[in-house]
Symmetry: none
Subunit: 416 residues, 2 copies
């Protein structure tokens, strides 16, 4: 039984809202091990709803419909589906009571137009809406000729109501169509281009179970491993084996899993090793500091950071010798490492970082183009400095973000 | 000529990402006055791509395709479309040069697999990708039998690349299919709840042309005015009139238009008045500094900012009297204003800002809950301090962002 998603609502077609319902349902279906091959969005138009419903019933078995269950005239999903099957609409008394109770709880009479929401196609079963006035329904269609069974489930377009109805009713109902589960794990990398990473695992990307696919983000790349199995234990076994093989080829660029961020990984390392860090930023303007303090508990390792944007600030607050800036330039290895040393010593932290570069779009030269960044790191025993070249045509905010990504990754490697 | 959108990528069907590309394109088509009746998402599967392409060509005239233009084996959009029309793929030399230049700009050789991205169906025209390695193409199909013309445009799935290619090439190309225009203008507000703003323009929200709709963002609200007209001049006339009426009721909260950001508006004001500003951040951790330095040319007004996360850093680097922290607390009006004064005097800037608060999720008390933030501002003649209460159940990053939004808005009002 394959599923597909139909989202109904002109606001989607006008680009007024992003379709988070489609991604929510897709994710939930994947977790249930039900394949979902199509998502379609269409406006509140009877003919077009008819067309997409027909296409969906021809190629899929389970149709999950969202939107168009409201009380106003432009909400026509229930009627359109009933019309498609030539079915009449019947009043559902429980639904009507729920809607009336919904209004009495906020000390209001039910407006007459809301009665419409209590109607469902004859032969369908209600999906109660625990937090709103729009119930959904489940309609099973047994086609005796082709001996096939199709199922339609409807949900309101309001995400929170969809989530609640999914959890309370739909998920339990759909479990009987689950043929196993699909589990995914993402392995995240910094400082390696997507193509280079893909080349290293080319053979694994051709396999069917688990599948391996690369996905590029801003300043990072992930490999997604997806395994189909009867249960989570077996799926994890399949993934573990593939992950081991992948990491044996790519370990040096790997930093974390799934939703883990570099700032989170770095934060955990700093706590584990009981270290504090002081950051002196120029071109990143406070972004590295802000990302590190996005993590709850970061006050354990962040004490004092510096945004020394002007040359004079670098001289006055980080103690950089004026001649270094004069002789090597403010964007230079020397300046970066001296910023790191200054940040570390003035703040009395364990580690210092200095970041200087050209965020653009102006200020670049042939010798020192936009996107050139130097990142210096030091502790009591070591100092190192990295030259990074970020494509100079990128927007200023992207250059800043990528520079912050490099800085966090070098910090991670420095502490490891 | 009606349009429809096809988004290709298994990550959409697995619910791993939300389809922001569909809403972006829909919005842009609406602005161009081109109707869009369908959005479809499908995985990286030749047969299903074939199916949805066929359906789209049967019911729509302009097909906008995103995704599947990457260098790896699972990226099959170009080949699938060429196969559908029985066309061969040809190497586009300009595209190949662009891809090679992309890598040489970051001192790398082009990996051999990226050459694939330079191929396009014979008979198509390239849409250059100014910020990535995946160009798109425009393929016009003249059906002599039915005397109809169909057009396919392809874009990569990476949103930023899509946006850049849309702006540089696609929008100009599509203008010829526009039958009139819809022009929108957003009026942006800080420090006013959506419901309060909507109440003030309730009557205008009932009108048909232009329409007025409120849209809540993070720490800001916008009113979008949308006018239908034959041309831009007429649309602007309609919008100007409505805007004047709106601003007569809401001027005190208004800060800018459309994509203008608070950091941009503040930056322009600082340059206009020839002022410099020094920021001392605690709970926002560098975010205000980072946002202000997102603006090109910000070195004119940003010299030195402080992230004084630890109490000792506030004492040592901003000269705050230990007793102030002891007697009033580190999250207090007194600490905020003294941080502002310290930042201003140590940096020798014109204006100082101090921000201290509780970003959560831990660290709140009954008296001083998570989300409580104090923002102090001072110049040579004035000082002021604001208490802000951000809902404490929000994620830490949202509390930080809202606090930065308040800080930038108070700075704006301080300089105005």
């Amino acid at each position: 039984m394959n599923a597909e998603i139909l989202c109904i609502g002109s606001e989607l077609l006008l680009g007024e809202i992003v379709n988070t319902n489609a991604s929510f349902i897709s994710k939930k279906l994947m977790e249930l091990g039900i394949n979902c091959f199509y998502q379609t969005a269409v406006g509140d138009n009877p003919e077009r709803i008819h067309n997409v419903l027909e296409a969906a019933l021809n190629r899929s078995d389970i149709i999950l419909v969202t939107g168009g269950l409201g009380p106003t005239d432009d909400d026509i999903t229930v009627k359109s589906i009933a019309d498609y099957f030539n079915e009449e609409l019947v009043l559902d008394k429980d639904s009507l009571n729920n809607i009336k109770n919904f209004f009495s709880a906020i000390n209001k009479e039910m407006p007459p137009i809301n009665e419409k929401q209590a109607y469902r196609p004859k032969g369908s079963v209600v999906i109660p809406n625990p937090i709103g006035t729009a119930p959904g329904f489940i309609r099973e269609i047994d086609d005796k000729e082709s001996k096939t069974k199709k199922v339609i489930l409807t949900f309101p377009g309001v995400p929170k109501e969809l989530y609640a109805m999914w959890e309370e009713t739909a998920e339990k109902y759909l479990k009987k169509y689950s043929t196993g589960i699909i589990l995914t794990r993402s392995i995240k990398y910094a400082d390696i281009p997507e193509a280079v990473l893909a080349e290293k695992v080319k053979d694994l990307m051709k396999k069917q179970n688990p599948t391996v696919a690369p996905l590029a983000g801003t300043g990072e790349v992930r490999l997604r491993i997806a395994a189909k199995a009867k249960n989570i234990t077996e799926a994890n076994k399949l993934i573990d084996k593939t992950e081991k093989e992948i990491l044996s080829r790519t370990k040096e660029y790997f930093y974390g899993y799934d939703n883990e961020t570099l700032e989170q990984i770095v934060g955990e390392l700093l706590i584990e090793k009981d270290l504090t860090v002081a950051i002196a930023e120029s071109c990143t303007g406070g972004l590295v500091s802000s990302r590190l303090t996005d993590i709850s508990g970061s006050s354990a390792y962040i004490k004092m950071n510096y945004v020394t944007y002007a040359n004079e600030a670098k001289i006055k607050f980080l103690g950089i010798n004026e001649n270094i800036i004069k002789n090597y330039g403010v964007v230079s290895e020397r300046t970066a490492i001296n910023m790191a040393i200054g940040a570390r010593s003035f703040s009395s932290c364990d580690i210092g970082i200095g970041i200087t570069g050209i965020a653009g779009p102006t200020g670049g030269t042939e010798e020192k183009p936009v996107g050139l960044v130097y990142i210096g790191l030091c502790d009591k025993y070591r100092m190192e400095v990295h030259e990074v070249r970020i494509p100079g045509h990128l927007p200023r905010t992207a250059i800043k973000y990528r520079a912050s990504q490099y800085a966090l990754n070098y910090l991670r490697l420095f502490i490891c």
